[in-house]
Subunit: 433 residues, 2 copies
């Protein structure tokens, strides 16, 4: 055996780089080669980090100390206050944990917790590979287009009841507004899910990283109905435009302190603590202020207008799609075109994305990467390929009672619109091929 | 079963928070309660982040994008150049990986690599718990006070030869200048270790995070003698005073690309990428500049003078201790006092540290936390409890050809000196108890 002889953990072997990050790097390569690309791949907020938060980072640039593993106490307090204010949930500051992205915290949670993982699919791309790396069993819970891709309380009850051991430790990962479909369960469903979770002692990881991007500012945390068993996952990446800063938060209920403590121990042997200047700066983001509220109002307004325009176009083109409630994703389904696509040799979401990219330059991700069966014809598109700073300024100049119309979108989000039009044109041309 | 019923990964259960981080939090509590504490616990650089690096962070505070998982390309280039310049090792920029601290990268390495882990003890506190969390087998290689605690090439050879399978995949973790003992193998020994590693195809993780703190600026990387099998671990935390910033680097040889690629995949499912503003700012730290050289010269000079003073005091007090070559740690051994300590009911390093803290306010860590047998009487002391900014300024004002004398140290590092004196006084009082 030489040094080039591969000796890798079997759980890691054959894994590929996270699909969302891989598409980002591929798009960059294609662009560099001169191709015109309409990127709907990586789900990165188009908006800049608010000025007051950037200024806070400058102010704290000299902070050099290792901070407490669990997080800077002042920041934990701000996060707890944030959830109290925005979600009406009573979180204690010493039950908040700060991590270098909520993705890392989810990994630590899957590593530390010993139990089954329940995930409604479609789901975010990283939950399942994380479980695979750690060697955990994942049970995907079926959803359907008809049910708006959301978790049906009946399906959750059926899954739990079907297993012999009703008290098996279980972790349910909910994510809404959802990546990939931009919607989630309504309040009544959330209450039913909470009841079932209570019945089976399920721990819920509620991934609410897009909560503040709810287009109407009306996100409702399931922690309101299941406070004793819900861990709320949040962070700066999406609503605050700071994905690259890497700061995520977990907020635990008091009686899951044993789990929080275990995560802190593992954190102390892995990332140690989150970058000090970033933690100090983030306090400003979580604290209530007129500047942050203003920023949120206008970013939601832009995302809402653009999302609605896209849905209208795709619906007219016979693409199956639901309204979006938040985030910046759509999950269109091309079932209507199955026969025509089959004539082109396309019968699954992976080939579909490949061909769309080749023929139109529109880069999206297959539903398969989000836990859907490969033979379905759905894709995830992130509508973020526009100059968010410019769009915010334009929105500020547009009276609040006026709708952001097509002219506004043409001026501010031209590449997104062109991409959608190219996709629709490609669909309509399938007839003539 | 209720939600308070603990269900944890057995590898995580019973683990305690990293000893170095725990002592830091304990010292803070004791101080808050009004106790006078002489902290020799956490190994955090006393020096500020150089101004040019802080300024670079301010300049890049607005950077918000997710960076490539492996690292910002310009930073990877700077790190490769850094190792070429400082270590005379030929590293390609696309074989450099950036992580949120080298600790996190080590965890990913232990997770991705499938093989035995060899560690000479005493060793840094986190290598062994990391292996435990992942479920890897660790073989500790014996060292001794007589051999300056360094890895003996003969012991390494004997360990490898003793196993039936000479081609077993193995990872040797070397760390020098060492945490906990501030020294390392000399060049001749490094060459012998390299030869043995080559013979058995051992991969070496050379943890050189303290390389630039070598008090004479004469650090030698083992990668010079074993370039094809050495991963160099480095980062900003120690020589650049930026422990709290969380930026570490791994530099791979070309033929371990398979291992680098696996780490990148796991990183893409965990921390994603290192904070963008921090990565941009770090370019300035790794690039050669007069400001950085100046900063390094003076920080080494202060550490050298203080280290020598401490060694002289402890040696005079019959404490077994070797000269330090770099970093800011000593690993004194109190074997001379065994009988007297036994009269006080102290026969192991854990009780020794507890009692020293109680009786004198000197906070240090037991050798046991660094992989030594519990019944030895050694402790690790970090001599960093002084105002590094002030000490740098004072050193700048002292002509370069003049030694930083006791008066300089009294003025700049009073708490370290008082702590050492309290410890020695405590030892001398053992006779009279």
């Amino acid at each position: 055996m030489g040094l080039q002889q591969v000796s890798l953990n079997l759980n890691v072997r054959g894994l590929e780089k996270s699909a969302t990050l891989a598409i980002n790097e591929r798009v960059a390569e294609l662009k560099a080669s001169g191709r015109e690309i309409y990127s709907f791949g990586l789900g990165q907020s188009p908006f800049p980090v608010p000025d007051c938060v950037v200024e806070a980072l400058k102010t704290h640039a000299h902070e050099k100390d290792y901070l407490p593993v669990q997080g800077l106490p002042e920041l934990c307090t701000s996060v707890a206050e944030f959830h109290r204010r925005e979600d009406g949930v009573n979180i204690q500051p010493d039950n908040v944990m700060i991590g270098p992205g909520s993705k890392e915290l989810m990994f630590l949670l899957q590593l530390a917790f010993y139990g089954d993982i329940l995930i409604p699919a479609p789901c975010w791309v990283s939950y399942i590979p994380q479980a695979q790396i750690i060697g955990r069993k994942v049970t995907l819970i079926e959803t359907s287009y008809e049910n708006r891709w959301t978790l049906s309380p009946q399906a959750l009850e059926a899954q739990c009841a079907a297993e012999n051991d009703h008290n098996k430790p279980r972790l349910l990962i909910l994510n809404y507004p959802s990546n990939p479909y931009g919607d989630g369960n309504n309040v009544e469903e959330l209450m039913q899910i909470a009841e079932i979770a209570r019945k089976y002692n399920i721990i819920i990881l509620s991934d609410e990283i897009y909560g503040q991007t709810n287009h109407q500012g009306k996100h409702v945390s399931i922690a309101r109905y299941y406070p004793e068993g819900t861990i709320i996952s949040a962070g700066l990446s999406k609503w605050c435009g700071a994905g690259g800063w890497r700061l995520g938060t977990f907020s635990f209920p008091a009686n899951l302190k044993w789990l929080l403590n275990a995560l802190v121990v593992v954190a102390s042997e892995t990332y140690t603590s989150v970058s000090a200047p970033i933690q100090y700066a983030s306090i400003v983001a979580f604290n209530e202020s007129e500047e942050i509220n203003h920023y949120l109002r206008h970013s939601r307004r832009v995302l809402d207008a653009l999302g609605q325009w896209i849905i209208r176009q795709l619906t007219q083109a016979q693409v199956r799609i639901h309204p979006v409630a938040g985030a910046f994703y759509i999950f269109p389904d091309f079932e209507y075109y199955r026969a025509l696509l089959a004539e082109q040799g396309i019968d699954n979401s992976v080939d579909l994305c490949e061909r769309i990219l080749e023929d139109t330059g529109v880069a999206a991700l297959p539903g398969y990467a989000f836990g859907r069966p490969k033979n379905e014809l759905n894709i995830r598109m992130a509508y973020v390929n526009f100059d968010g700073a410019k769009a915010l300024k334009s929105s500020e100049k547009t009276p609040w009672d006026r709708v952001l119309d097509d002219a506004f979108l043409e001026q501010n989000c031209p590449l997104v619109m062109t991409g959608i039009r190219k996709l629709i044109h490609w669909l309509s041309s399938l007839d003539n091929k």
